[in-house]
């Protein structure tokens, strides 16, 4: 397929996944607030930190109030990671490849965008956040489901899947990192009821609460981190995401697994091996934040390698095959 088209399909999927995760974090945080009165300011602060956008946020909004954070992360077109900014780019990408993705899928992307652009969207998000962010999440799922059921599972589909899973792996590490920021001000809270609520909320934001309960019962910090990083069968864990991304990457090139023919396969293969052979207990003891940081850097490296291998204009050179 055309390099330009592959790139658009890949980024379309990354942006949709990113928008979904912003909604997840916002939605759960909002619910958490109902349980924890009196924590308002601290509660919304990490939302901004998790995206790495603290400086521009402070400059333009000042205090991390609920309204400000929702505005910044949802509707602020000047914030490149806001839901609306993600959807605008996702839709532009989708529009540029609408002859490749199915009509049904394009229509869902378009509907999602139009939903965010409805005149009273802001009011609804602030006054009644739960159904609003629920809708965002469901729109993303609808796109994913429509894609799986209406698009041929060929090269474009694999590029979309690659984008989805690389982005999701990255987002899951960020969601875990929120907790790190949350814990900073009050390390005393560890193990207290409030801590339990926060870890549960964290699981919920990754749709992992029920699966976690079935597997481990009591909510314990180390166990939660391990679950979100290493639980093979859970579709939002980092391990699951990068393995799925790897399958699609190799489906695109035809290279057998455990071998590599280009830097994308090499970088992703190394990361998969690292996650596979990491002692989870050690990670939690040895400083979760640094570990998450390292994973994020490696995921960036994978993204760069994918761009170089498949999307960069190649004047005559054969890309990895």
């Amino acid at each position: 397929m055309l390099s330009r088209v592959a790139e658009s399909v890949y980024w379309m999927s990354r942006y949709i996944e990113r928008a979904e995760n912003v909604a997840r974090v916002l939605g759960v945080n909002n619910q958490l607030q109902h349980h924890l009165s009196g924590l308002t300011e601290e509660q919304w602060d990490p939302m901004v930190k998790v995206g790495g956008d603290e400086v521009p946020f402070r400059a333009r909004y000042g205090a991390a109030t609920r309204e400000n954070v929702i505005e910044f992360l949802t509707f602020d077109a000047g914030n490149p990671n806001s839901i609306i900014a993600c959807l605008t780019r996702a839709r532009e990408n989708a529009r540029s490849v609408r002859e490749i993705i199915s009509s049904e899928m394009w229509e869902e992307v378009n509907r999602f965008y139009l939903f965010l652009r409805e005149p009273d969207a802001r009011r609804r998000a602030v006054e009644d956040p739960h159904p609003f962010f629920e809708h965002v999440r469901r729109s993303s799922h609808l796109i994913e489901g429509t894609k799986n059921e209406t698009m041929e599972h060929a090269e474009a589909w694999h590029f979309s899947r690659l984008g989805r899973y690389v982005e999701r792996a990255d987002q899951t590490t960020r969601i875990l990192d929120v907790k790190y920021f949350l814990l900073l001000p009050s390390a005393d809270d560890v193990g207290r009821p409030i801590d339990d609520l926060q870890w549960s909320a964290l699981l919920r934001s990754a749709s992992a609460f029920e699966a976690y309960r079935r597997a481990h019962g009591r909510v314990a910090a180390a166990q939660v981190a391990r679950f979100l990083l290493f639980e093979r069968d859970f579709p939002r864990s980092v391990q699951h995401c990068i393995s799925a991304a790897q399958l699609s990457l190799h489906a695109i090139t035809g290279t057998p697994l455990r071998r590599f023919a280009n830097t994308a396969e090499q970088a992703l293969g190394r990361l998969v091996a690292e996650i596979d052979y990491t002692d989870s207990a050690q990670v939690v003891r040895g400083g979760l934040h640094d570990f998450l940081d390292a994973i994020q850097n490696k995921l960036n490296g994978v993204g760069d390698a994918i761009t170089r291998t498949f999307f960069a204009p190649h004047a005559g050179a054969e890309p990895g095959k």
Partner: protein, 477 residues
């Protein structure tokens, strides 16, 4: 919402006779709409618009710095043409396209029509669409005008005239297909009762034509649609047609000339392209041949084309017959090349470069429609009866300065079709753009795009100027 009290206003109405009774072919639809419960027309109309918005059938408006996209306004009342009335139109269009194709080929090769003085050579060579780079070109199978959109209008007395021919990249056919899809959902019962000729096979016919003109006989030539990109006002159509034909939609940056072939950059290297349905203007096709500042085209494309390594649809240079001054000579071309009388008449046209015509035009500006020879989209026109004295003075100046570039025609009382205006139906003026494909045979899409001037009394139907569209139903008999 019913047609009771609908006023044809002294115009030719496509749906009602002057005495207010429905034309026979429209009776079933009129009864159906009149029988709908109160509010139902509006509800269906909104459902139809919502469907168009969700599918993103929108166009960008140039000069709108919001970058806003709008849906092409759609009206729920179709235009109905009985089969017997359509058949001569179809024959007339075939005849016209055949003559136009002969003309373009002649202009760039043998020049017989110029030498015989039927069409003045300096007129042809001064046309904005004339491409000296195309002299001596022999496109595959001798076809230049593969896709033509010819605009037709009906005057007060019912006569159908050809208003202009669009032989470069006529757009709008995607709206025909989408409008039909929406209408079959909106009035399914009426549809089944009437026997409307189908339009849904247009993409298949387009693809067959594109494959037919591949440079060398091959089993499955690779065909692609070339678009300027998603910010073009017709981008929706480009991607829609590529999707419906199951072929690649490419931009200039996806293409490169390598190994003496046109190639696409793919994730697994280069892939050859044999036929390019290009939706960008001649001038932007190849910076080494036409405009050197073009970022949209492919360097070296014209050279490949000239040597028969790739086919371009439409061929470069067809714009010469798009010129509204050249248009005036089409009836003569039909006689010259085909030795036939034209089936469809032209609108009487004054050519401002003739002294006598120009004097007449300048004396009658308030009655005439003045058009620049090489604009499209309804831009740069003067509609005399609706103009101010200042506008007429400005046009008189423009005509004096560049007589070659202006024509004038009598202001026709374009026919009308009932159109929903808030909670009632009112007559609005329409035109019709049928699409003609020239491949192994000449095919005319039944009906085409009916464009409607939504503003009361307006004669300008272009989408960029407040126009909308209607489905066009050509009946089987």
């Amino acid at each position: 919402m019913t047609f009771n009290g609908y006023d044809t206003g002294g115009f030719y109405d496509e749906m009602f006779l002057p005495d207010g009774t429905p034309r026979p072919e429209a009776r079933l639809l009129v009864d159906r709409i009149n029988g709908l419960p109160e509010g139902e027309v509006l509800r269906r109309h909104q459902a139809a618009e919502r469907a168009l918005l969700n599918t993103g059938i929108t166009f960008a408006v140039y000069g709108d710095d919001q970058g806003a996209e709008r849906i092409f306004p759609f009206d729920i009342v179709p235009r109905i043409i009985p089969g017997a009335a359509w058949d001569p139109i179809e024959r007339g269009l075939r005849q016209r396209v055949e003559a136009l194709n002969r003309f373009v080929d002649d202009v760039y090769n043998d020049r017989n029509i110029l030498r015989d003085g039927v069409v003045p050579a300096d007129l042809v060579e001064s046309s904005a669409g004339y491409r000296p780079e195309c002299v001596g070109l022999r496109p595959p199978r001798g076809i230049w005008c593969h896709i033509t959109g010819t605009d037709l209008v009906r005057d007060r007395d019912g006569t159908i005239y050809v208003l202009e021919d669009n032989l470069r990249c006529p757009s709008g056919v995607s709206y025909v297909l989408e409008n039909r899809g929406v209408m079959t959902e909106t009035f399914p019962v009426v549809f089944e009762g009437l026997g409307v000729r189908p339009v849904a096979d247009y993409p298949s016919r387009l693809l067959s034509m594109l494959e037919y003109v591949a440079p060398a006989a091959m089993k499955r030539p690779v065909v692609a649609v070339l678009t300027p990109g998603m910010f073009n006002s017709a981008y929706f159509e480009h991607s829609f047609l590529a999707q419906q034909m199951g072929i690649q939609l490419v931009e200039g940056r996806d293409l490169v000339v390598a190994d003496d072939r046109l190639q696409m950059r793919t994730t697994s290297g280069f892939e050859q392209v044999d036929v390019l349905y290009r939706r960008i203007d001649d001038n932007f096709l190849d910076p080494t041949c036409f405009r050197s500042d073009s970022m949209l085209g492919v360097p070296g494309l014209m050279d490949l084309y000239r040597r028969g390594r790739v086919a371009l649809v439409n061929a470069p240079g067809t714009g010469v017959a798009d010129d509204k001054v050249v248009y005036a000579y089409v009836p003569k071309m039909i006689r010259y090349y085909l030795d036939q009388d034209p089936i469809l008449p032209n609108v009487p046209t004054f050519l401002c470069w003739h002294d006598k015509d120009r004097r007449h035009v300048l004396d009658h500006l308030a009655e005439l429609v003045v058009k620049p020879a090489n604009e499209s989209g309804g831009y740069g026109m003067l509609i005399g009866p609706a103009s101010t004295a200042a506008e007429r003075r400005r046009f008189a100046g423009l005509i004096e300065a560049e007589p070659r570039n202006y024509i004038a025609q009598p202001t026709l009382a374009l026919s009308r079709v009932p159109t929903r205006v808030e909670d009632r139906f009112e007559g609005r003026h329409v035109d019709l753009r049928p699409y003609i494909l020239y491949g192994g045979e000449i095919y005319v899409l039944p009906g085409g795009l009916t464009r409607v001037a939504l503003e009361k009394g307006s004669l300008v139907v272009n989408s960029s100027q407040g126009g909308g569209s209607k489905d066009t139903w050509v009946l089987s008999c």
